[in-house]
Symmetry: C2
Amino acid sequence: MSLPHALLTALLERPCSGSELAGRFDRSIGFFWQATHQQIYRELKRLEEQGWIAALAPEAGRGRKRAYQVLPAGREELRRWTGEAREPKPLRDELMVRLRAEAVIGPTDLVRDIESRLAQHLEKLALYREIERRDFTGDTPSRQRELQHLVLQAGVMAETLWVDFCREAIAVLVADDPNKP
Amino acid sequence: MSLPHALLTALLERPCSGSELAGRFDRSIGFFWQATHQQIYRELKRLEEQGWIAALAPEAGRGRKRAYQVLPAGREELRRWTGEAREPKPLRDELMVRLRAEAVIGPTDLVRDIESRLAQHLEKLALYREIERRDFTGDTPSRQRELQHLVLQAGVMAETLWVDFCREAIAVLVADDPNKP
DNA sequence: CCCCATTATGCAACAAGTTGCATAATGAAA
DNA sequence: TTTCATTATGCAACTTGTTGCATAATGGGG
């Protein structure tokens, strides 16, 4: 149950409309939490019914844009949820299943996919580093900025891990495959 | 759509019953892919209907234990799926949402939860290292063993990343919190 | 022998994620 | 002015994950 809380967080950072939220979940928030516009609207409706958010007056422009803001009850719920004890989510990635599958089946095209993944992770790592340079350079930041930087660093660490892992995987997959040079 | 393929992989590694699969998904396979027994039975039924697996004769013992094995069509499907191009799954962890939430709300009990997580990740890292020492030490292994080792290494890398990240997070959370020493 | 605990299988309800499709409102181009 | 493209919102169906609960079969203990 994290989408409602991700929405509360995003709206506390900046009140905005459903479609703007969708855009933010495709980009900045989407680096660590993803959601489709269908999900977002579904959840916004629920949050409103629960009295955690309220819609503002509709805005001018194309469509029927309507912004939302967090109410005190919503803020309190987010505080409660943030501080509660929760279990870490174990690693769960289908690439691991595929590696185990190739182990038992023999050579497949998996190594090509991993090469493609390596490129994608390198690209994303470069993007994160660029964002870091652009947004988190300079003087002593506020606590808020430090925490935001921390979340970005998690992304950097994750992409770095995947880059390293892809390289190792390629080495293993190529080493014993008679069809590869 | 990975549970069916995880099941095919597990059954190719070793034919066994639904409840044994449930046990393996709680332990070894569960290090990189998790599933409840309800899911497993649901999926086994589907795999059987699709002609990818077949049930063997019931075994002696408590309950109604029935083992499954993979059929040629199932093996072929697993080969196809393993080699196909697939997108990497982006980072998605509610701890990131919570850190962003604390950034906008102010101090909560999140640091206590992260301290608890640090302990859990250290413990799991030690477990993985022990498994590595026990199962993957010695001479030149087969390709299969190398790939299995690789998947375990992914677990080691992931736990190491979480250990490092928890430490950084604790440092940031504690640094500016007037309620912490 | 009977009872209880354990093992094995599986139905059901609900939540959350994914994908397809739709309507309403507006702005820009012809 | 009309038409088309874009923006914004949202319903619906399905899949996958989560949790509760249930029945059948067997073994062990009293």
